[in-house]
Symmetry: C2
Subunit: 410 residues, 2 copies
């Protein structure tokens, strides 16, 4: 087989594991005999449109240390974008530019690491390539802390975010129980439409800690009346009540509970914040006890220092497998993680046509939420537990993690 | 010397290191020949007033594993209180009760781990004991994430909080730089009157990361006009500007910048929140670029999983030294950490009369803040750096830290 070049890019919101997938792609591509140069596009597909393309060979070839450091560095080494390609039938200009660039650079494999919006890009590029008969393998590698991609058991990035959420919930519980006064603590967790990450707060429970006492996911309609009722019931037996709530909870009519006016991003998703604060004010005005809300904010997707070894390892494997898939000539696919067994936990890597994944979202099954809509079931815990297992080795320098330089993005 | 009993308690806000000092006290007291029973008072001095006193011998005697786990567990194993003792001259009832309890339980050493409000309790109890000629050694062991205790180079708990702040700031920087759009990110850090913890965000800077680009401490008057000016200047050269701001920044007249009405706690301190949000709205309305505020909230004082080994080790040593001080008959003192050398970093443990510490606070020296009031100097970095060095071994179970059970508090 004649050696060609390949390109890799990252897109969407960051996770602790998305660089591990990048490391997997770079490592496998540099070691294979199929590729001369492994290019990286800066800021996702935008980098191709703006000629911001770098060679990754110099930094990573014969440099296992750099590969390892990349694997354990948060967010995106290549930067990201939130860019929706237009329909190519009505608007082909950008596609023509992209594929002319690929042709000039002898690029015949494209790896795109991202969530469901990024799979929309993979799908559109695949369709366009087919329409012009350009020989290219386009492979989607999943990632998202939201865990809401279809056709895969779970998504890289989710396990690390879940480990941060569960660890923080346990530490917040230790922080809360020390005072001998009645209190309500509300922890707001990311997840616009899917409650997977909020559900993972349940992993903080252990032999002594029952927090979170209440868990509210966006898959179940939220009633402020029922919420206050739930709190009052629990406060009869417990001094402190700790709540995990998804940023995206909404009432029966679909109105978000958060107070701030929701602005829409480029994909038409509402941008939320303030659910915790809104509920804090509600508790203050109805129950009147000590109340605090805590928004985990971007820490939950960027806290590499408390990432899951399972997650990072799987993300790396997906990167390597993507290169193998391209070498086998597969295209228009997204790789998937299939759970083979839960005790012991084992997975296999498969793939699905990317068109089955793009622009769709996987919600928490309603039967994994309890009847009252304020907790998750044992099936959910069984599903979540293996995903947060293990701690990767993070190197420190001057007291802080020694991550890979992202000077080229700054 | 006749064997007697001793009692230990914790008070004030939690830190990641306050249990390490407790572990130091328990370990040294159980190993010494001076004490039969090591008692713990639940919820600080309130536990003595409410007869909530437990023996610590059963759990910790000949159990180095429990001592180690206590050392690496966040917040307070014995619970806390925010309780101000009345003046004993006008209101001796509680003092009479406390010392009658001590007499009945043969308690002649009292170790109190806390911040400056807790040292007020140590001071008052010491004075009362002297007035009734009760033979007791009362020793204060410092802790506070605020690092604002007088007469000690730094306080246990601060280094761990500073390590969390610096690590989170670096991870927030990685999260921020990935998008190719102009943005302002505001990180709100604890510190009502003292800016030490906010200053420690500067430790996130490394060979590639210049964030935080701006640092605002409460020791320097804050001008919203100057703030917007600072941002506009930086945005000319930088795509992303990241700000570290203390919750307690205030204008020339002393008015806090935060929007929420400040309620006062029992010691008369204003309870703040919302500085980051207030500045976020200001940036939105004046500059109009993408802006996000992140409140590190209680995570910065409870995140044991990213604590500083230097901090945890020193906290343990202070606990051990407190027992030695009591055995030597010292009383009415607070132990102190004295920095002997910075390269290599070495400390010694000393002590001061507790009356010199109680109800006073140590601010950041104004000469460690730059002239524009928007950064810290190299002296500050030199001071801070050794305090966040090293990572203790945290044991994990089921993917989350395996901390010591606090069932007795729940």
């Amino acid at each position: 087989m004649k050696k060609q070049n390949c390109i890799v890019a990252q897109s969407g919101g960051p996770t602790a594991a998305i660089n591990a997938s990048l490391a997997g792609v770079i490592d496998a591509a540099l070691k294979s005999n199929s590729f001369h140069t492994v290019y990286g596009s800066i800021n996702g597909i935008q980098g191709v449109l703006q000629h911001k393309i770098i060679s990754l060979n110099e930094t990573f070839e014969n440099n296992p240390d750099a590969i390892h450091t990349l694997m354990t560095s948060p967010a995106m080494y290549l930067g990201s974008c939130r860019y929706k390609l237009p329909d190519f039938k009505s608007n082909p200009t950008q596609y023509e530019f992209i594929f002319e660039t690929f042709r000039q650079m002898d690029i015949h494999s494209f790896f795109y690491i991202g969530g469901n919006d990024s799979m929309d890009t993979v799908d559109k590029l695949s369709q366009y390539a087919k329409s012009i008969d350009y020989d290219i393998c386009i492979i989607g590698i999943p990632k998202t802390i939201d865990n809401d991609l279809m056709e895969t058991d779970h998504t890289p990035g989710f396990g690390s975010a879940a480990k941060f959420v569960a660890t923080s919930m346990l530490e917040i519980a230790h922080d809360t129980y020390i005072f001998d006064i009645e209190s309500v603590t509300i922890v707001e967790i990311m997840g616009r439409d899917a409650g997977w990450l909020t559900a993972s707060a349940a992993l903080a429970r252990n032999s002594y800690n029952h927090a979170p006492d209440l868990i509210y996911l966006p898959e179940h309609d939220f009633s402020t009346f029922q919420f206050v009722n739930d709190l009052n019931t629990l406060l009869k037996a417990n001094k402190n009540v700790i709540v995990a709530v998804s940023e995206g909870v909404h009432d029966e009519q679909g109105n978000y509970i958060c107070s701030t006016q929701a602005a829409a991003d480029k994909f038409g998703h509402a941008q939320l914040s303030g659910t915790g604060k809104t509920l804090e004010h509600l508790v203050k005005s109805t129950i009147g006890c000590k109340v605090r809300s805590i928004e985990l904010n971007v820490l939950q997707r960027s806290a590499m220092h408390i990432s899951s070894l399972t997650d990072i390892t799987e993300a790396f494997q997906l990167g390597s497998e993507a290169v193998k898939a391209a070498e086998m000539g597969l295209t228009s696919i997204m790789l998937t993680l299939n759970r083979e067994n839960n005790h012991p936990y084992t997975i296999s890597i498969g793939n699905v046509p990317v068109s089955e994944v793009a622009n769709a979202a996987k919600s928490v099954p309603i039967e994994w939420i309890n009847e009252s809509g304020n907790d998750v079931t044992e099936e959910m815990i069984e599903y979540l537990l293996p995903l947060i297992e293990g701690e990767p080795h993070i190197r420190f320098k001057n007291g802080i993690p020694d991550y890979l330089s992202i000077k080229h993005l700054i």
